[in-house]
């Protein structure tokens, strides 16, 4: 019989696909015959499984990579977001050919309707110049979060500048990998409006924003910074979301996110993140962010990142006939 430490090492090797046939056989025998080995294996495998869960990445405010060259494309099979894509494909009947095996096809393409849904201060023009509140927002319609400020450009246009990364909850030793500025959006009126409509369809929300990165001494040494958009839909009261952030993302009814890499001085880029508009969602949490590109517990200055024209659009996709085809 192997000592406990040996079993643990063997289990860990197996989780990374490093065991030989003989070692896998020895582990199998241990699992079959020894309750302690079985228990050790299950615990280690459950940690491994939980780490592979995409929502944990959001919990810790890490940002999975999306290449700048294709900001409008979703990741395809093999990346961790695929089950949501399958689900979204089934509902909306779009893009499912991207899943790589020709699983489901939309067989018609009726007209898609889009309607802008006003969010407060999406263009920052009516806001006073200066810092936005550095706390998680507790009410609808205010921008707040990590250190950021509204600045006026030479042409008079107002824009939000990301000042530095921070941990929005002020958690001691918490990760400060990004500068996120949030807004809570009340979906009640939108739901009433949609429910009053006579036509049937599937609805999704598209969050878009225009990001720009100027050359700046404060962030020109960052190796892999990104601009990021996130949208989460919740059922509940707005103040309850901040209380349990970031763990609350696990309760999100729907979510969408998109990142883009920007070189200093490059042209501004508009990116969008979409999610299915769940029928029982009452609150949307939207977040615009600049990330340092690595996990640091120390705040990092981000002087050159800006965002403007944050917009929420309701997309109506008429009911589409979809069919499953054989592989």
């Amino acid at each position: 019989m192997r000592p406990s430490q040996d079993w643990n090492a063997l289990i860990q090797k197996h989780l990374d696909g490093q065991t030989t046939e003989e070692e896998a056989q020895a582990l199998s025998t241990g699992i079959e015959d020894d309750a302690e080995v079985r228990s050790q294996y299950l615990k280690a495998a459950q940690i491994h499984g939980a780490l592979a869960d995409e929502t944990l990445a959001l919990d810790v405010e890490s940002e999975p990579e999306v290449k700048a060259a294709a900001p409008e494309q979703q990741k395809v099979l093999g990346q961790f977001a695929w089950p949501r894509q399958i689900a979204a494909g089934l509902v909306a009947g779009i893009f499912v050919g991207l899943l790589g095996v020709g699983m489901i096809w939309a067989i018609d393409s009726p007209k898609v309707e889009a309607q802008v849904f006003d969010i407060a201060h999406g263009d920052f023009e009516t806001m006073a110049e200066g810092p936005t509140p550095t706390q998680f927002p507790v009410r609808f319609g205010e921008w707040a979060g990590n250190p950021a400020e509204v600045v006026k450009e030479a042409d008079g246009n107002k824009i939000l500048r990301f000042v530095r990364t921070a941990n929005v909850k002020g958690t001691p030793d918490g990760i400060a990998s990004n500068c996120s500025v949030f807004q809570l959006v009340d979906l009640t009126a939108l739901r009433q409006q949609l429910e009053a409509g006579q036509t049937q369809g599937n609805y999704s929300l598209k969050l878009s924003a225009r990001f720009r990165r100027d050359a700046s001494l404060s962030d020109n040494e960052l190796s892999n910074p990104k601009a990021t958009l996130r949208i989460f839909l919740f059922q509940g009261e707005p103040e309850s979301i901040g209380e349990t952030w970031p763990q609350v993302v696990r309760q999100a009814e729907a979510l969408g996110k998109k990142s883009i890499e920007l070189k200093p001085g490059s042209a501004a880029a508009t990116i969008s993140a979409s999610c299915i508009l769940e029928s029982d969602a009452t609150v949307a949490l939207i977040a615009v962010a600049a990330t340092s590109g690595y996990n640091s517990k120390t705040p990092v200055p981000l002087g050159g990142f800006f965002v403007d024209d944050v917009q929420l659009t309701v997309i109506k996709q008429p009911n589409l006939p979809v069919e499953v085809v054989s592989r």
């Binding site: 299950l42 939980a50 592979a52 919990d59 810790v60 890490s62 689900a87 089934l90 996990n295």
Partner: protein
């Protein structure tokens, strides 16, 4: 309309069940790419059979039956990695069905434990799990050997497991 309602219902149910299914498949097939392939096959099978789903039963239980079948099918044709024996997997499945306590605790405490990792450990986990970086890539970036990166990942998982167990004990006390 019924067809469309079915789509929506299936989507909701699949979204709810997917994390549980993924974690369960990963117990038998730890390789994440393989596990996702299995989940894709499972999703197709579930959709084909959705008309026979009894809504009185929990969807996740129904779906897990399909996931187990697809896992066995996968293992029967996959020869490229050393796998656990069928008997070992059957024993694990039984154990998982009877005891979900630790999985629930992992769900509750893992985010907290992640915050307690050092920066290097955190970056490693982010690269390996959340950005799907290969160990070879991580080794090159970090100026370390592939073997050293594997060991660091494995040590980090053990640290996380210890942390979760400590959190559970703290609550009991």
């Amino acid at each position: 309309m019924d067809h469309q309602n079915n789509h929506e219902r299936f989507t909701r149910l699949l979204l709810e069940a997917e994390p549980v299914m993924l974690r369960s498949v990963l117990v038998a097939v730890p390789n994440r790419t393989d596990a996702r392939d299995i989940l894709q096959e499972t999703a197709v099978a579930l959709w084909r059979q959705f008309d026979s789903y009894d809504p009185q039963r929990p969807f996740v239980n129904w779906a897990m039956g399909f996931a187990r079948i697809e896992t066995r099918r996968f293992l029967a044709r996959a020869q490229r990695r050393a796998q656990l024996s069928e008997k070992a997997m059957a024993v694990l499945e039984r154990e998982m069905a009877g005891e979900s306590g630790f999985a629930v605790e992992v769900e509750r405490h893992l985010a907290t434990c992640m915050q307690k990792l050092g920066e290097k450990q955190h970056a490693l986990i982010q690269g390996y799990y959340h950005e799907n970086r290969s160990v070879e890539w991580l080794a090159e970036q970090g100026g370390r050997s592939v073997e050293a990166v594997y060991k660091a990942i494995q040590r980090t998982r053990i640290d996380l497991q210890t942390c979760v167990q400590r959190q559970i004990r703290k609550e009991i006390i």
